[in-house]
C-alpha cells in the first residue's frame, strides 16, 4: 500500500494540475452530442498529457503504475473539481486495455494499446436484442473462411446497447462460432475495426434526448483471425476479464459527484420556498444520509480491494445501493420541482446529477437497468452473499 505522505502529495499535485487544466463552462458549451464527444476527446488527451488518464495501467506506461489508493485520489479529485466524466474513453482505457493486457497476444498489445493513448476509442459489442441479462445467449454468427491473405471470420448479426459506438474506432466483439452444447462454450472474442465493410452503426434515440447507446448491424463483416483474442470458442472467459476490469472506481466517483450535486436540491428547495416544509426537510435529510452511505459503501469496497478482500456479491451491493440512491435523488427533485420540471429543458450529456430533474430521473434508469439490472444484482446478492438456492436450471413448465 502507498504511504499517507505519498498520497497527500499526490492529492496536492492533482489539485494544482486541475486548477490549471480542468475545463470550465463545459456544460454550457456542449449543445450537441458531437460537441460533447469532441470535448470528451480533448479532455482525455489533456489528462493523458497530465499523467492522470490511465493510473490503473502498468508502470511502463506514462501515468500508469498507480496503486488503487492513488487511483482513488485521482478520481475523487476529478469528481470534486466537477470535471467532465470520462465516458468516451472508458471502454478503451478499462475494457479494451485489460482485455489486451490480460488475454491478448504480444502482437495485439503492441498493435492496439499505444493507439488508446492517442485517442483511439473502443466500443463493446456484447449485448444483443435477445441477450441482455442473459449475455451468453448471444447469436451474432461468425464463420471462418479462407482468404488469400489469411483466414477471416465472416460476422453477421446485431449488437445493441453499445456505448458511444458512433464515435468508436474499434470494437470488442463477442460472436458465436459454435451453436452446439452449452451456450457459453461456443463464443469467440474478436477485435473489430469499426470502419470495416458491413458495419453499420445506429444511435439509439433515448427518452431524455441523449444518444449514448447504439445498435451495431454486422453484415458479412470480415475480421482477420489475427484479431481473435484467445482461442476459438473460448471467448467467454476473455469477456469475463473484460467485464471485471473496472471494480469500484466509477461508482466511488459517481457517489462523490452525487454528494456534490446535493447543492442542486438545496437550491431547488430555496427556489420553491419550501425551507419550512417539514416533510421536504426530512426527505432531504434522509437523502443526504443515503448519499453518504453510497459514498461510504463505495469507499469501503475500494478499501477492501486494496487489502485484497473482496467478498462474493460485494460489487453488487455497491451498484444496487448507488442505483437506488440515484433514483431517490431524482425523485426528490421531481417532487419539489413540481410543474416547472415538466417543461422540457436542455440536457447535459454524460452527466447524471444536473438539477434538470426529469433528465436526471430518466438517466437514473441507465444505472438501474444497464450493466446488470437491479434484478440481476438482487439475484447475485441472494445467491452468492446470502447463499440462498439458485433458480432451478431445468424448468418443466406446468
Amino acid at each position: 500500500m502507498t504511504d499517507q505522505t505519498t498520497l497527500d502529495a499526490l492529492r496536492t499535485e492533482v489539485r494544482i494540475w486541475l486548477a490549471a487544466n480542468a475545463p470550465k463552462g463545459w456544460r454550457q458549451a456542449e449543445q450537441t452530442h458531437e460537441q460533447f464527444a469532441a470535448a470528451q476527446r480533448d479532455w482525455f488527451l489533456k489528462l493523458v498529457e497530465g499523467g492522470y488518464a490511465i493510473p490503473h495501467w502498468p508502470a511502463e506506461w506514462p501515468g500508469g503504475g498507480r496503486s488503487l489508493a492513488e487511483q482513488k485520489i485521482i478520481y475523487e479529485e476529478l469528481a470534486k473539481a466537477d470535471t467532465p466524466r470520462l465516458l468516451l474513453s472508458f471502454v478503451s482505457t478499462f475494457h479494451a486495455a485489460s482485455t489486451l493486457m490480460e488475454c491478448a497476444s504480444e502482437e495485439q498489445r503492441a498493435r492496439y494499446l499505444p493507439g488508446i493513448l492517442k485517442g483511439e476509442t473502443w466500443c463493446q459489442g456484447f449485448s444483443e436484442p435477445g441477450a441482455g441479462s442473459d449475455l451468453a445467449a448471444l447469436k451474432c454468427r461468425a464463420v471462418r473462411e479462407t482468404r488469400a491473405d489469411g483466414d477471416v471470420y465472416v460476422v453477421s448479426g446485431q449488437k445493441i446497447w453499445s456505448t458511444m459506438a458512433q464515435y468508436a474506432d474499434k470494437c470488442l466483439l463477442l460472436v458465436r462460432t459454435n451453436s452446439d452444447g452449452v451456450k457459453q462454450a461456443g463464443i469467440t472474442f474478436l477485435l473489430m475495426d469499426m470502419k470495416a465493410k458491413g458495419v453499420t452503426v445506429r444511435p439509439i434515440q433515448q427518452i431524455q434526448g441523449d444518444e449514448e447507446f447504439c445498435e451495431i448491424f454486422l453484415d458479412d463483416v470480415e475480421v482477420s483471425v489475427a484479431d481473435r483474442v484467445g482461442e476459438e470458442n473460448k471467448g467467454w472467459a476473455v469477456a469475463q476479464a473484460t467485464l471485471s476490469s473496472e471494480r469500484g472506481l466509477t461508482l466511488m466517483e459517481l457517489s462523490y459527484r452525487m454528494r456534490g450535486a446535493l447543492s442542486y436540491v438545496a437550491e431547488l428547495i430555496r427556489r420553491h420556498g419550501r425551507e419550512a416544509d417539514t416533510e421536504v426537510l426530512r426527505q432531504f435529510g434522509v437523502l443526504s444520509a443515503r448519499v453518504d452511505s453510497a459514498c461510504a459503501i463505495a469507499d469501503q469496497f475500494l478499501e477492501n480491494r486494496m487489502n485484497g478482500i473482496e467478498g462474493l456479491g460485494d460489487a453488487s451491493i455497491v451498484k444496487l445501493t448507488y442505483s437506488r440512491v440515484l433514483r431517490e435523488y431524482a425523485l426528490l427533485g421531481l417532487k419539489i420541482g413540481g410543474l416547472d420540471e415538466q417543461y422540457r429543458a436542455p440536457i447535459t450529456f454524460g452527466d447524471l446529477n444536473t438539477g434538470n430533474w426529469m433528465a436526471d430521473y430518466m438517466n437514473s434508469y441507465a444505472w438501474t437497468i444497464a450493466g446488470g439490472s437491479d434484478e440481476v444484482q438482487r439475484n447475485i446478492i441472494a445467491e452468492r452473499m446470502l447463499d440462498m438456492p439458485r433458480e432451478p436450471k431445468n424448468w418443466v413448465v406446468a
Binding site: Q205, Q206, L339, Y365
Partner: protein
C-alpha cells in the same frame, strides 16, 4: 359499472382502439365531437346529454388509456362553467358552439397569479391547455369568470414545450386586458363558485385519465414480460416480477374502485376528490416507473411506448394541484372530521 357506462366505455374503445396510441389531436377532436362527448355533462334542457360525472370520468379514463392528445378535459370544464354562467350575454349560443366543437381553453393549474380589477385582467395563467386551437380562453380570477379572445388586446399566448408530448400547455399573460361586457360569465361569489366546481371536476377527470393510463401501462408491461425470454424462459415466470406486477394491479384496481365510488357520489367534496386525484396519480406514476424498469433497456428508447406513459404520469401529478397540497388538505379535513 352500470350498463349505460359500460356501453359508453365500449363505444370509446371502439372509436379509440388501444393500438392507436397518442392519436393525432385534430382528428381525435373531430371524432370526439362526432361521438357527442362534448355535450355529455350539459343538461338536457340546454341541449346536452345530461350525463353525470361518472359518465364523463368513463370517457376520460379511456382517453387516458390511449394517451389522447385532444383537450377533452379542458373543453368540458369550459362547457360546465359556461352553463353555470347565467349572466353570459349569449349563453345559449356559446353552449351550442362549444358543445359542437368550438374549443374554449382553460388552465389546468389551480394556482395562478391572475387578478381582476373590475373587468381588467393582469397576471399570468399557467398550464392553459391547447391554447393554439382556441378562439377564446375561459379565465377564472378571484371574483370574475370571463371569456377572453386568445388574440385579444394585452393577451400573450406562449407555448411551453413539455417532456410529455401527449399534451400541450401554454402560458397566457394578461397585461391589463379589459374583458368585453358580453364575455363576462360570472362575478363575485358566483364566479368563485364556478372556479371551485371546475377545480373539483378537473380533479376527477385527471384521476380517471391517470387510472385509464395506468391500466394500459400495466397491460403493456405484462404482455411484454410474457413475450420476452431470458435464461430460456419468459421473464413473466420470475416470481419477483410477478409479485411486483400483482402489487401494481392491486393498487390500480383499488384506486379505481375509489374513482368510481367518488365519481358516482354527487356529495363528494373537493377535498375528497383531491385525495382521490393524488392517489390515482401516484399509482400511475409508480406503475409507469416500474414499467420502464420491468421492460429493461427497450423501455429507455424513444421508439418504445413506455416513456410516453411515464411522461404523462409525471405531468398528471401536477395538473389540478400537487399531491402535497391535495394530501395536506385531505389530512386537515380528516383531522377536523
Amino acid at each position: 359499472m352500470t350498463i349505460e357506462l359500460s356501453e359508453l366505455r365500449d363505444a370509446a374503445q371502439k372509436a379509440f382502439p388501444a393500438d392507436g396510441l397518442r392519436p393525432a389531436r385534430d382528428a381525435s377532436w373531430k371524432l370526439i365531437a362526432e361521438m357527442g362527448w362534448l355535450m355529455m355533462p350539459l343538461s338536457e334542457e340546454a341541449g346536452g346529454l345530461g350525463l353525470g360525472r361518472d359518465a364523463v370520468a368513463t370517457i376520460h379514463f379511456e382517453m387516458g388509456r390511449v394517451l389522447s392528445r385532444a383537450p377533452l378535459i379542458p373543453a368540458l370544464l369550459a362547457l360546465q362553467a359556461l352553463e353555470k354562467g347565467a349572466g353570459l350575454a349569449d349563453q345559449a349560443g356559446w353552449l351550442e358552439r362549444v358543445a359542437s366543437g368550438e374549443y374554449v381553453a382553460v388552465s389546468l393549474e389551480p394556482k395562478n397569479t391572475i387578478v381582476a380589477s373590475g373587468e381588467v385582467l393582469t397576471g399570468t395563467l399557467r398550464a392553459v391547455a391547447d391554447a393554439d386551437m382556441a378562439g377564446h380562453l375561459l379565465v377564472c380570477a378571484p371574483g370574475l369568470v370571463a371569456l377572453v379572445p386568445s388574440n385579444g388586446a394585452g393577451v400573450t399566448v406562449t407555448e411551453r414545450p413539455l417532456w410529455d408530448e401527449s399534451r400541450r400547455l401554454f402560458d397566457v399573460t394578461f397585461d391589463g386586458h379589459k374583458v368585453a361586457p358580453e364575455l363576462i360569465v360570472a362575478r363575485d361569489n358566483a364566479a368563485d363558485g364556478i372556479a371551485a366546481s371546475l377545480r373539483a371536476e378537473l380533479l376527477v377527470a385527471l384521476a380517471a385519465d391517470a387510472l385509464g393510463a395506468a391500466n394500459a401501462t400495466l397491460d403493456m408491461t405484462v404482455e411484454y414480460l410474457k413475450t420476452r425470454k431470458q435464461f430460456d424462459r419468459p421473464i413473466a415466470m420470475f416470481q419477483a416480477l410477478k409479485h411486483r406486477c400483482a402489487d401494481l394491479k392491486t393498487r390500480i384496481v383499488s384506486a379505481e374502485a375509489l374513482l368510481w365510488a367518488r365519481a358516482g357520489d354527487p356529495e363528494a367534496s373537493e377535498v375528497q376528490l383531491g385525495a382521490l386525484k393524488a392517489l390515482a396519480c401516484e399509482v400511475f406514476r409508480f406503475t409507469a416507473e416500474e414499467a420502464i424498469q420491468l421492460h429493461g433497456g427497450i423501455g429507455l428508447t424513444e421508439e418504445h411506448h413506455c416513456h410516453l406513459y411515464m411522461k404523462r404520469a409525471e405531468l398528471n401529478r401536477w395538473l389540478g394541484g400537487s399531491a402535497d397540497d391535495l394530501n395536506e388538505a385531505a389530512g386537515r379535513a380528516a383531522l377536523a372530521a
